[in-house]
């Protein structure tokens, strides 16, 4: 889980965008080239695999003509650029190949497992934002105090600890020793048949169906991985909040707000935070994207049936279609989150809306 602030910085500079039409165009070019790049990278990774895709289908003892026919069927005799063209067309129309492991179309597998990952990442980001923003504000306001140091250390440990290790230790403590949380997994086997999810977001489904015992069980399952991802999100969000708030609190409009006789609470939580919220939106979106990625390791620890577990299982079984499909989907979701946060940024900062 490496977190980049580059996006935040670029976006700040983008405040002085020229004209609306030009920025829309630039935006479209960015999206298209990024998707193209994602396809290109996954395509080439697929080509360098040492596993021969033909042999994987026909077996090593197949006669030469069968081998050759399959090779042509797979389009492997075509020049690379044509292969890439076919690959792109298929991928963009939703055909990511078939998983060797599950023998389902990869996209269908991903549709099935992705809500679980999103649910986990959402819980994590919620925890991170709800706790991280106030902590960051506190650290900035009481800069240099003991509280600031504590927030700093919490953040630094979050940046430095291996997530899978912390997950294992948490399981030992909260599951094996204290019995506070449920066995790894998403829902208890008892409810596997009585509960039929519709949207794939189990917590939401169970709550809407009024199955409160299921909600309780789901909660006991998601609490630990959710809290773990929440901690990582908190580390990032509190650190960035502190830095944005320090920047805002040193501005002249804060002096003006004091000169107006506003209370410190209003100055901090309304004036400064409202301004810091503009770049914070990007940080929260980035944090959400990072948690989607962080789920790869978290899900293996907690047997959480999401995209991360799907990718690692496929990896272990050399199921490259599934791995690359998963990579492509996560990459596209990243692009989507970026677009979303950009739009949100525009609505929050009046300076990006020109008259």
């Amino acid at each position: 889980m490496t977190l980049t602030d580059t996006t935040v910085a670029t976006r700040r500079n983008r405040r002085r965008a020229s004209s609306f039409a030009a920025s829309v165009l630039r935006f479209a070019v960015t999206v298209v080239t990024t998707i193209f790049g994602l396809l290109l990278v996954t395509f080439f990774i697929g080509r360098v695999v040492p596993i021969d895709p033909v042999l994987a289908i026909v077996g090593d003892r197949a006669p030469a003509h069968l081998y050759e026919r399959t090779r042509i069927e797979l389009g492997l005799n075509l020049p690379l650029y044509q292969q890439f063209w076919i690959y792109s067309k298929q991928a963009l129309s939703g055909d990511l190949g078939t998983s060797v492991l599950t023998s389902n179309p990869v996209l269908e597998d991903i549709k099935r497992v992705f809500p679980a990952t999103m649910e986990l990442a959402t819980i994590g980001t919620l925890i991170g934002a709800i706790l991280g923003i106030p902590l960051g504000v506190l650290a900035a306001v009481k800069r240099g105090s003991v509280a600031d140091q504590i927030v700093r250390v919490i953040g630094l440990i979050g940046y430095s600890v291996p997530i899978f290790w912390l997950g294992l230790l948490a399981l030992v403590l909260f599951y094996a020793q204290l019995r506070w949380v449920a066995f790894p997994g998403r829902v208890d086997i008892v409810y596997e048949y009585s509960f039929s999810p519709q949207t794939g977001f189990y917590l939401l489904d169970a709550a809407m169906q009024g199955q409160w015992d299921v909600v309780g069980d789901l909660f006991r399952h998601i609490a630990l991985p959710g809290a773990l991802l929440g901690y990582f999100s908190l580390a990032y969000i509190s650190r960035m909040t502190r830095s944005f708030m320090l920047n805002e609190l040193s501005q002249e409009y804060i002096v003006a707000a004091r000169a107006k006789g506003l209370s410190e609470a209003r100055i901090i939580w309304f004036h400064a935070l409202r301004n810091a919220a503009v770049p914070l939106v990007t940080v929260i979106a980035l944090s959400y994207a990072n948690l989607l990625e962080g789920s790869v390791l978290t899900e293996t620890i907690f047997s959480w049936p999401g995209l991360g577990l799907y990718i690692t299982n496929s990896l272990q079984n050399a199921d490259m279609n599934a791995v690359l499909g998963g990579t492509l989907v996560i990459g596209s979701v990243f692009v989507g989150i970026n677009i979303f946060s950009d739009l949100l940024y525009r609505t929050l900062d009046p300076r990006t809306r020109s008259r």
Partner: protein, 310 residues
């Protein structure tokens, strides 16, 4: 009317802090001294530096420091001994190997990963960024689009896919991490280059007939270095964590190499009863990446005071 030069004792404090350095070397050392003083004021940064020096020493002297062989254990007598057992400070694993010895040798692998990734990724980022920033125009546009594409990828997932394709192993893990690490460096180097591309001193060098290549290498790159070093140091923790994650998934260093992430993976099976097998390597990872983070924070504050507190 000049103030008479007082001869300062070379390498003394006053000599270093003199605002009229007599030689290039004195000016350089003086600047380094000021940065060091700013850095040394930050106690946490010194802790970080201490951790890294310790890591270097341990890695260098692993043969002397490690009480046991890291690979071959005592299967008969020493399986899964708890920490504190006579002779085994941190306990032993399922193959009767001393965990402390494995951690000590593992520090070499951690250093290897960190150093190699830095050596591969930082120069790529530096070259792409400075070329892009200095040349501008279509070259800039193309290079930055490529950079953005790599930035759009989730790093760990891309590294996973790469290692899956190249085959598991520590070399491929290093390569995969390096491939996913350079884009932010390119961004930083480009931003730095843009700030002084049109400055007077570059114009002066140009007038003297220096080629673009010479300008980039001799004049632009050195100025990008300090912010790049800070960024690379701050990234080290992430690199260590990614490498450990790959090791944990069985895609990094292969057994019996004492890689810390892989050690956690092999200890996972006994986590409920012999917790120390998985716990100890995690502590090592935490301490080392914390060291890099503290050092990076301190370096940033010392090299770039206006960013301090960020």
């Amino acid at each position: 009317m000049s103030i008479p030069e007082i001869a300062l004792k070379p390498y003394s404090r006053a000599w270093l802090l003199s605002d009229r350095p007599a030689s290039r070397q004195q000016a350089r050392l003086g600047r380094a001294y000021i940065i060091w003083r700013r850095f040394a004021e930050n106690r946490l940064a010194l802790v970080g530096l201490g951790i890294l020096i310790l890591l270097l020493v341990v890695a260098a002297l692993a043969d002397v420091l490690a009480p046991y062989d890291p690979v071959v254990g005592d299967l008969r007598n020493a399986r899964l001994l708890p920490p504190g057992t006579a002779g085994y400070l941190l306990g032993t694993d399922d193959q009767g190997r001393d965990i402390l010895s494995r951690l000590i040798y593992g520090s070499r692998l951690t250093l290897l990963v960190v150093v190699l990734v830095a050596i591969i990724a930082a120069p790529i980022g530096l070259i792409v960024g400075t070329a892009s920033g200095y040349a501008g125009g279509w070259l800039d546009a193309v290079l930055m689009r490529i950079t953005d594409i790599f930035l759009a990828f989730p790093k760990l997932v891309l590294a996973l896919a790469l290692v899956a394709a190249l085959g598991p192993g520590i070399e491929n893990a290093i390569l995969a991490i390096a491939v996913t690490s350079w884009p932010p460096y390119a961004r930083i180097a480009r931003a730095e280059t843009l700030t002084f591309r049109n400055s007077e001193f570059i114009a002066a060098v140009k007038l003297m007939g220096a080629s673009p290549l010479r300008i980039i290498i001799r004049h632009v790159m050195p100025l990008c270095l300090s912010s790049l070093i800070v960024r690379v140091t701050l990234d080290m923790a992430g690199i260590i964590l990614t490498a450990a994650g790959l090791g944990f998934l069985g895609l990094g260093a292969q057994p019996p190499l004492p890689e810390w992430g892989a050690m956690i993976a092999s200890g996972r099976r006994f986590i409920l009863d012999q917790w120390w097998v998985a716990a100890m390597p995690g502590v090592a990872i935490l301490v080392v990446s914390l060291g890099f983070n503290l050092l990076g924070d301190g370096l940033r504050d010392a090299l770039d005071p206006k960013e301090a507190g960020q």
